[in-house]
């Protein structure tokens, strides 16, 4: 079991308003699964992804990642687990504009203190796998949306993570590019990578093995 949550809750509080984004979520994810989380805008799916990706902390409840209780961890502890185990793909790609494609892909390896000769090997392997070698020296602004997302996917897998978290990976892409990215993710899943994806598109959700529906912060179907 990679992920196990129990009564996972997230409440946003301002001076006057309290919003429950997630309401006592019980969720588990097994190795090798490709799960899609769906729901309308504002249902809490991105919030769930952020908490499962340890980018945010829950307000209440338990979150066990690879058997370890991480719900109360500090940012530095979470960062350590993230870089060792997780890969991320985002709707707006989130590549670093000042770095080339090669350098963007290499970044997780640098943070994991991978020696430089190993880094070179891994980056080149991933570039080849995703057919991006000819773009390795380009900057993000020189790429199309589809190419940027492909680079982002490459970055997410270079560290051979236990889990890839994808937040609306096709949200900023046209239909063709969207399907291309989904095919890439499906292939990675076939090769053994566990994927948790958030999407509002049923068509794209169809690439996943199972679908969870979220509504008003609660899981309505699994």
């Amino acid at each position: 079991m990679i992920i196990e949550t129990s009564d996972l809750t997230k409440v946003y509080r301002t001076e006057e308003v309290e919003t429950t984004a997630l309401d006592t979520i019980d969720f588990h994810l097994e190795e090798g699964q490709f799960v899609s989380v769906m729901g309308p805008s504002g249902c809490g799916k991105s919030t769930l992804l952020h908490i499962l990706g340890m980018i945010d902390n829950p307000s209440e409840g338990s979150y066990r990642f690879l058997g370890e209780e991480v719900s109360k961890y500090s940012e530095s502890k979470r960062a350590a687990i993230r870089k060792a185990n997780l890969g991320f793909v985002f709707q707006s790609f989130n590549l670093i504009d000042e770095l080339t494609v090669y350098e963007n892909i290499e970044l997780p390896l640098i943070y994991n203190k991978t020696p430089s000769h190993e880094r070179k090997e891994k980056v080149e392997k991933v570039l080849e796998k995703l057919d991006m070698e000819h773009r390795s020296k380009h900057f993000p602004r020189q790429l199309s949306g589809g190419q940027q997302q492909r680079a982002a996917v490459a970055r997410s897998i270079v560290n051979e993570p236990n889990l890839i978290l994808a937040d609306e990976p096709t949200g900023n892409l046209d239909s063709k590019n969207g399907h291309d990215v989904m095919k890439m993710l499906a292939k990675l899943n076939e090769e053994g990578t566990t994927i948790l994806m958030v999407t509002h598109s049923e068509e794209m959700a169809g690439y996943a093995g199972s679908v969870i529906q979220l509504l008003d912060g609660k899981i309505v179907t699994q």
Binding site: S46, H50, G53, I55, D56, E75, S76, A79, A80, R82, K83, A84, F88, F90, N94, L95, I96, D97, E98, L99, E103, L107, P108, I110, Y111, N112, R155, D167
Partner: protein, 808 residues
């Protein structure tokens, strides 16, 4: 890691060129200003330390207390050094200088020039004071007289030739050059281009015991003692007391006077000396002022960097958030941003260094700093290392807050859209802008007040007429004796309205006499009073108003040596109800003039006496050659050049031996305030730099704020707002900050000027009557800020609303 940081930094720099330029320009200017001021301060704080033995050298200064009136002197009795060395074990040796404070004509062949600085010194001077000899062996002075000249002096007469053995003549005295030394450093309180040994008859020590005792009451020489290193100068009191008791007390009883002396460490003389009859000294609080300015400029530039870096946080939020998501720790991010700041600082160092070279060679800034910075100073290895270290520290200072701020951005910021600055950081940025403007307005206000003070000083009625007054120097008694003839000849020219003799130039009165003067009860008391010898038309020629009595008479020869004219202040201080007829020495007061400023306006008026010039009878042959007097001429304002040519021709006839030497009185008086004028110009320059850097920062900040609010601007325009309303909306907060800052700045400037710069002037502007200066400074700062913001926001405010709404 370092190369990755450098790559990211360079690419960021390229992408955000305008912000990079603003930052680098601001930091470069700050570094250049700090470097210039730093070099200047170093030169000032190391006055006289080029002498290897400076820790052992102490100058003796003394005070005379005559019937309760105390005068302090940097000059001391001729025999003091020798007697102290012979009688007190603490004193290891002495050097004495006789400094000539007037221009001296030196002639060699057909070349003749006046030199401001020449002196005589005891023969061991080169053993104690360091000189960098170009020609001549300093050891040879033990056996022969020396006449040592500076390199500048030698060049003027003999070019690059070795001048040893060449003859120079001064009046009737000819000598051969024995040594040439490199020009004394600017930061030496002793200044001379000609230094001769004092083993000439004029300086012979008196042999007669009575004459020796009397000479102890006649200060003439600057005396320097060689003590042990870091001698406790408090111990010298015992030596001074003992010396007085042994050698001066008996005459002191007769004079109703006492004497005491104390020591000044050599390195302290220029900035910590406050005695009369001294070489020009520096004013310490100017150094504090310049240090404050340097710190201000640095602060303003650092604040710029901090403000711009944090304002642009939202642009970096995505990058920071992603780096954290991908596993970067906070420390790594802090190092990255600190590295950026240090990089900017190092680039700025290079530009700053170039700016300094340009400033020193292409602008008058070094002149304003008294030529105290040599270009070669900039290449000293220690200085270069120091600059590197300074630049690193500057980078750290500028970068620490942005580094901490940016690295604290949560990973979620990368995902939820633009990072919004929290209220805390916004307030801090506004505080930083406020501080910048407080500094700038303070410096502007100080500059304006300095200008007002200098204007006040130049317009203050002096009690005499200074316009169209020419001062001509008369050298040697033979020429002075011709004054009646000279006067008659000159007055034949209708452009010459008046001629009179005077012993000193107004503004530089040095004459001080000890005399028996009637007190208010008519009982004679010994006191010291400032005086000037003058010809019989002096009051008339100078336009001084006579209050009571009469002027000196041409016809009454008894006026010479027997008649005195005093000023109003003396009448008040003496408590005289009836001043006319009061005795001064063997003469009487015949007239009272309205107060006139015989001295710099930095000093208060005191008792002052005019006496008729007594002529040259009885002056020794030697002293006749050294006599100097002045003619003051009232000339017509029209066709001054023709009048000057006439005078030059005439004086060539009267005195063929000396080139015509003249100065306009108002120029001479302006020189009294030269230091203050220079301070004012310098502070003005640095004020301009401060406000320039502040504006650059404001420009960048305004650019960024406008960019951030583009969508809001678009919506407001759709709803009907005009361009002008948009601009004022964007500028409103800044203007509020500037006005707030102006209030604080006004208080700071008021205090600074009241306690610092104006304190040197006995006659000064009333700050409470000039509060408008603070309003003007605030208005200038606000106008500059508004224009800066408006320029930046105009384009966005003018744009089509749809472009703004499409922005996101």
């Amino acid at each position: 890691m370092a190369s990755s940081f450098l790559k990211t930094t360079l690419r960021n720099l390229y992408r955000e060129k305008m912000y990079a330029m603003i930052n680098i320009a601001g930091l470069s200017l700050a570094i250049a200003c700090c470097l210039i001021l730093g070099l200047y301060l170093r030169s000032q704080l190391t006055y006289d330390k080029h002498n290897t033995k400076y820790k052992q050298i102490y100058r003796v200064v003394n005070e005379l207390n005559i019937s309760g009136k105390i005068d302090t002197f940097a000059i001391t009795p001729q025999l003091l050094g020798q007697m102290l060395t012979e009688e007190y074990a603490d004193v290891k040796g002495f050097v004495r200088f006789f400094i000539i404070n007037q221009k001296v004509l030196f002639r060699s062949g057909d070349k003749a020039f006046y030199w401001d600085s020449s002196a005589f010194a005891s023969k061991n001077v080169f053993d104690v004071f360091d000189h960098d000899f170009i020609y001549g062996d300093p050891k040879s002075v033990k056996n022969e007289r020396f006449v040592a000249v500076s390199e500048s002096f030698a060049r003027k007469y003999w070019g690059n030739e070795n001048p040893i053995g060449k003859a120079i003549t001064s009046e009737n005295f000819t000598a051969k050059i024995t040594h040439v030394f490199a020009d004394l450093p600017e930061n030496s309180h002793l200044r001379y281009d000609v230094l001769q040994s004092d083993d000439i008859p004029f300086f012979n020590d008196p042999e007669d015991a009575n004459q020796r005792r009397q000479s102890l009451w006649n200060p003439r020489f600057h005396t320097y003692l060689l003590m042990q290193e870091d001698y406790d100068i408090r111990k010298f009191k015992d030596i001074s007391d003992s010396f007085f008791e042994r050698h001066m007390a008996d005459l002191g009883k007769a004079y109703k006077a006492t004497w005491r002396a104390w020591l000044q460490p050599l390195a302290d003389i220029h900035y910590n000396s406050d005695v009369g009859y001294d070489q020009p000294t520096g004013i310490k609080h100017y150094l504090y002022g310049f240090t404050a300015v340097a710190i201000f400029i640095l602060l303003v530039a650092c604040i710029n960097y901090m403000n711009l870096a944090t304002a642009r946080a939202s642009k970096r939020a995505k990058e920071v958030g992603m780096r954290k998501i991908l596993g970067s720790g906070r420390t790594r991010l802090i190092l990255q941003f600190m590295g950026e700041a240090i990089f900017f600082s190092l680039v700025a160092l290079v530009f700053g260094y170039i700016l300094v070279q340009l400033a020193l060679t292409q602008t008058p800034i070094n002149e304003l700093l008294g030529n105290s910075i040599a270009l070669k100073d900039l290449n000293e290895p220690r200085l270069l290392l120091g600059m590197l270290a300074f630049s690193l520290v500057l980078g750290l200072m500028s970068g620490i807050y942005p580094a901490l701020y940016l690295s604290s951005i949560a990973p979620l910021s990368a995902l939820v859209g633009s990072h919004k600055a929290g209220k805390g950081s916004l307030r801090l940025r506004e505080m930083l802008v406020l501080i910048q403007f407080i500094i700038s307005v303070t410096v502007i206000a100080c500059t304006l007040l300095m200008v007002l003070q200098m204007r006040y000083v130049s317009r203050l009625p002096l009690g005499f007429d200074k316009e169209n007054r020419l001062i001509v120097t008369l050298r040697t008694a033979d020429v002075i004796d011709k004054v009646p003839t000279i006067k008659k000849e000159l007055l034949k020219n209708s452009s010459i309205l008046g001629v009179s003799l005077c012993g000193d130039v107004i503004g530089k009165i040095e004459g001080l006499m000890g005399a028996q003067i009637d007190n208010k009860d008519g009982v004679p008391e010994i006191m010291t009073v400032k005086f000037m010898q003058v010809g019989n038309d002096f009051i008339d020629v100078m336009g001084i108003a006579l209050k009571e009595g009469r002027d000196f008479s041409k016809r009454l020869l008894t006026d010479v040596g027997n008649s005195y004219i005093v000023n109003e202040t003396m009448v008040k201080k003496m408590g005289w109800d009836q001043p006319l007829g009061k005795h001064i020495q063997s003469g009487k007061v015949i007239g009272v003039v309205k107060d006139f400023h015989y001295d710099s306006l930095k000093n208060n008026l005191d008792s002052f006496v005019l006496l008729r010039f007594s002529g040259t009878q009885g002056i020794s042959a030697q002293n006749r050659q050294l006599m100097i007097q002045y003619l003051v001429l009232n000339i017509a304002a029209e066709d001054i050049f023709r009048t000057l040519s006439f005078l030059e021709e005439k004086f060539a006839e009267f005195d063929p031996k000396h080139p015509f030497e003249f100065e306009f009185l108002d120029d001479s008086l302006n020189k009294l305030y030269l230091d203050e004028k220079q301070q004012m110009e310098l502070i003005g320059i640095f004020a301009a730099v401060c406000i320039f850097i502040s504006c650059m920062g404001l420009f960048g900040l305004a650019a960024f704020t406008t960019e951030q609010r583009t969508k809001e601007i678009g919506i407001r325009k759709v709803l009907g707002s005009s361009t002008w309303q948009i601009i004022t909306m964007l500028a409103r907060r800044i203007l509020l900050l500037v006005f707030g800052g102006a209030v604080i700045a006004s208080l700071m400037a008021y205090f600074a000027m009241d306690e610092w710069w104006l304190i040197d002037f006995s006659y000064r502007i009333n700050l409470n009557m000039n509060l408008w200066v603070f309003l003007v400074s605030a208005a200038v700062a606000a106008a500059v800020a508004f224009i800066t913001v408006a320029l930046q926001s105009y384009k966005t405010a003018q744009a089509n609303p749809i472009n703004a709404l499409r922005y996101e």
